[in-house]
Subunit: 166 residues, 2 copies
DNA sequence: CCACTGAGTCCAATTATTGGACTTAGAGTA
DNA sequence: TACTCTAAGTCCAATAATTGGACTCAGTGG
């Protein structure tokens, strides 16, 4: 995903692109902002609803979808003398979204917020500010002009008569 | 954006969150897949339309929106003896999305594609495979358990009578 | 003059979203 | 027991967005 010359078709066609599939699954406004809140630690139906001002029916759909995808889990829990409640914690799959979301946060702070950064990350031990970057196997950051893409597509089968699954 | 305890409200409220705003601007399925193709180098109306199988009217809307946001540019160009054509190249702002998109690509390759990676990046000089990571100011990757969030909100003004802009 | 291509616009049918009212069930209170 | 409250939803009618297809417009080449 680098700067590129004019190209008529993406080297990774949509039906073989995991990024494409991901966008098909979680790439809508409500799902994305639900995940934003979830990564901050919000877990309960009404908390999402109030914070996001999302219609309850839509929230209900989206949470069900995220659970089905394995990004969130629907869990009943009970605090001391309280009755059972439902919470929607992130799974490992969901928590793994923190890196792309952080990268997107940096982009938005720079290009939309004009440099304002309400949320930053820092190292607990050194106190240094952290940022998202491309690194090599030794953990050394790559220079922008030293990056090149490698495309490896599974061999396409000859495509017999009849259409492929879309 | 780290693993977090139960929280009733996000520490960065939606109206002060650049990430939220970004999702409001580019966080829909079609816009995201258009940007995917654009980062691969696709620039022309019909190329997007054929590759994405997107309704022409929607493509038209989305491209206009991306131009207005400053993520793409609408440019007429002319090849040798050809008539003038239109192309939609990414601006710096658009190209800067390659890092978050690459982070998202890695997430999707791992969690959706079960480890398949049609696109990877590598260092031209060392040939090493590159990945997205959090690094400190010296470029040293941070360990997951050494990361902590820092929230800095602009002081809220007292909120006079009448509602804020939503 | 005709056909072709690229870049759109226009429109009717379908689908999704919205905002609000309503439902359900357990816990605490009188 | 009867109320009340809260959390987590469901249901519904009005509005808005999306879809797929046909159509337009201009230059160019034959």
């Amino acid at each position: 995903m680098t700067d590129a010359p004019l190209i008529r078709r993406s080297p990774v066609p949509p039906d073989q692109c995991n990024l494409w599939k991901a966008f098909g699954l979680i790439g809508d406004r409500w799902t994305l902002v639900i995940l934003r809140s979830a990564l901050y630690g919000v877990r309960r139906f009404d908390d999402f609803q109030v914070e996001l001002e999302i219609p309850r029916s839509v929230l209900s759909n989206r949470l069900a979808g995220l659970v089905e995808l394995g990004i969130m889990e629907r869990r009943e829990y009970r605090e001391d003398g309280q009755r059972a409640r439902v919470e929607y914690p992130l799974t490992d799959m969901g928590r793994a979204l923190s890196l792309p979301f952080m990268a997107m946060t940096e982009w938005s702070d720079h290009w939309i917020g004009k440099g304002t950064s309400p949320l930053t990350l820092r190292s607990k031990t050194s106190g240094q500010r952290l940022r998202v970057a491309m690194v090599d196997e030794d953990g050394k950051p790559a220079r922008k002009d030293d990056i090149e893409p490698v495309i490896i597509l599974p061999p396409r089968r000859p495509a017999k008569a009849g259409k492929q699954e879309k």
